[in-house]
């Protein structure tokens, strides 16, 4: 391969596709199918061992609500990050989550240590190493965190336990809203209005959640089409 204008020599196409991409797609496909199957186990075991099943209509309603939020992100995230982490990176990221805060930074650092540009074949292979390492660190960390977490929280004084039970969830929701509001301040107040007014009018969350997501996306699309307004970097 000839060097590009930066003097960088990429991996040749033939070995990249034959020795790397082919096996990546084969194993990536089956591991993603397996992990999907494994995620049905908890509901199945809860029913088989304890005879407890979620009410079907309620579970479907919850699933529909969850998808209004998750579906756009599931489409957007791989499309946005693909040029950084490549095919193997996508299989791993979609299997293990925590993409923006963990997988992407590890992919980017690996590429920067190797002094390889993103969007190249070598960049994708280096990103794969970075993400694979982050998966191992993540699994080990979360396992010990979960084990210790139960013990640590049992040592808390009652006032702190009460604070966790009452206020942790609203604080998380506020903090995440603040994080996204910084990326798109122009959408923040309209989003609150679109969600808040029906809440005050007593609408059911079933209808408010899709309205808030779709309404804010349409507003963003309109501003982008008419004025070229887009979110800043995170």
């Amino acid at each position: 391969m000839a060097p590009d204008e930066r003097g960088f020599v990429d991996l040749a196409v033939e070995p990249y596709e034959r020795e790397y991409l082919g096996p990546v797609h084969r194993v990536g496909f089956w591991t993603c199918i397996l992990i999907s199957a494994a995620m049905t186990l908890p509901a199945l075991l809860l029913y088989l061992i304890y005879g407890v099943a979620a009410p079907r209509a309620g579970a479907l309603a919850g699933l529909a609500l969850a998808l209004t939020y998750l579906l756009p992100l599931t489409i957007i995230e791989p499309l946005s990050y693909y040029s950084v982490y490549g095919d193997a990176g996508n299989y791993m990221s979609m299997t293990t989550g925590n993409i923006a805060n963990l997988r992407l930074p590890c992919a980017a650092v690996a590429q920067s240590v190797a002094e390889v540009p993103e969007g190249t074949r070598t960049g994708a292979v280096i990103a794969c190493i970075g993400i694979a390492v982050s998966v191992v660190v993540g699994v080990v960390g979360v396992f010990f965190g979960s084990l210790a977490g139960g013990w640590i929280t049992a040592q808390f004084p009652p006032w702190l336990t009460g604070a966790f039970q009452a206020y942790l969830l609203p604080a998380v929701l506020g903090a995440v809203f603040g994080q996204f509001a910084l990326r798109g301040p122009v959408y923040a107040i309209p989003a609150l209005t679109i969600a808040g007014v029906p809440l005050l009018l007593g609408w059911h969350p079933y209808s408010i959640i899709p309205a808030a997501v779709v309404g804010t996306v349409l507003l963003g699309y309109g501003l982008f089409s008419w004025k070229g307004i887009a979110p800043g970097r995170g």
Binding site: L11, E19, Y20, V24, H25, I33, I35, A38, M39, L46, Y50, A54, G62, L63, L65, Y69, L70, L73, I75, Y82, Y91, T95, T96, G97, N101, P105, C106, V113, I126, G130, V136, V139, G141, V142, F143, S146, G149, G150, W159, F164, A166, L168, P170, A171, L173, G174, A175, V176, F177, G178, A181, L192, L199, Y206, I209, V213, Y221, L223, F224, P231
Partner: protein, 235 residues
């Protein structure tokens, strides 16, 4: 039996181990393919690969610690076993997880984090959270080979459109949950507002100080700050 006991029983730990094993196998296999290709055709020696691994490990420690920090919310609200099953190898950060559990609770007429959340809410959460996350893994299984082409088509050549859709979807859903908590007034309202202000300040502070690694901790610190401020003002 108390639902919290069931939520921390061995069956759920085992489900977490099964998922972790698949995720670790996938990562290990891809790692081996990548290092072998680089050694054979890229001229990378073991020393260079070690440097890449070291960089990734150091980078991963901060976000993983931050994740564990926020993860305590799930340990508290549901159980350590549930947290391990969902966060070990699963699709979704702790925050996504909480939104999905809240959706599940709404579906069965309950509210996550409130006394009304019981065995029915837990069962709904187990179904909704896990099934909704298979969308991502099944999507990856079937569509990864076509991502490059799809990316160009959806963004119409302008990747900023992808950012518009992503940020607006997230703002829409979190606007609903934040407004719903504000509606309760009292400590809930304080926690939401304090969490939002602290989060914006800490993310901005990281930019002002040119310390991007601070952002890994911003969300966790804002969450705990918001929670403590709400507790102090309501004491």
């Amino acid at each position: 039996m108390d639902w919290k006991v069931i939520a921390n029983a061995p069956w759920l730990w085992i489900c977490g181990f099964v998922q972790a094993a698949i995720g670790l196998f996938q990562a290990g296999y891809f790692y081996r393919l990548a290092t072998r290709l680089l050694a054979r055709h890229g001229g990378y020696g073991p020393g260079q690969v070690r440097a890449i691994v070291r960089g990734a490990v150091i980078t991963a420690i901060g976000p993983v610690m931050a994740e564990i920090f926020v993860m305590m919310a799930l340990v508290f609200a549901i159980s350590p076993a549930y947290t391990w099953q969902r966060e070990g190898v699963a699709v979704g950060s702790v925050v996504t997880e909480m939104v999905l559990i809240s959706n599940a609770a709404i579906g069965v007429g309950q509210e996550f984090g409130q006394p009304s959340f019981d065995m029915v809410g837990f069962a709904a959460a187990v179904v909704v959270v896990n099934l909704s996350c298979t969308i991502a893994s099944l999507g990856a299984a079937f569509f990864t080979p076509y991502l490059g082409r799809a990316r160009g088509k959806l963004s119409r050549g302008d990747p900023r459109l992808l950012a518009v859709i992503g940020v607006c979807s997230a703002l829409g859903i979190f606007a609903f949950f934040a407004a719903n908590e504000v509606k309760r007034r009292g400590g809930h309202e304080v926690a939401v507002i304090a969490g939002a202000i602290l989060s914006m300040f800490l993310f901005k502070l990281a930019d002002w100080l040119h310390r991007p690694r601070m952002k890994e901790w911003a969300l966790g610190l804002a969450t705990f700050g918001g929670m403590l401020i709400a507790r102090l003002l309501q004491a």
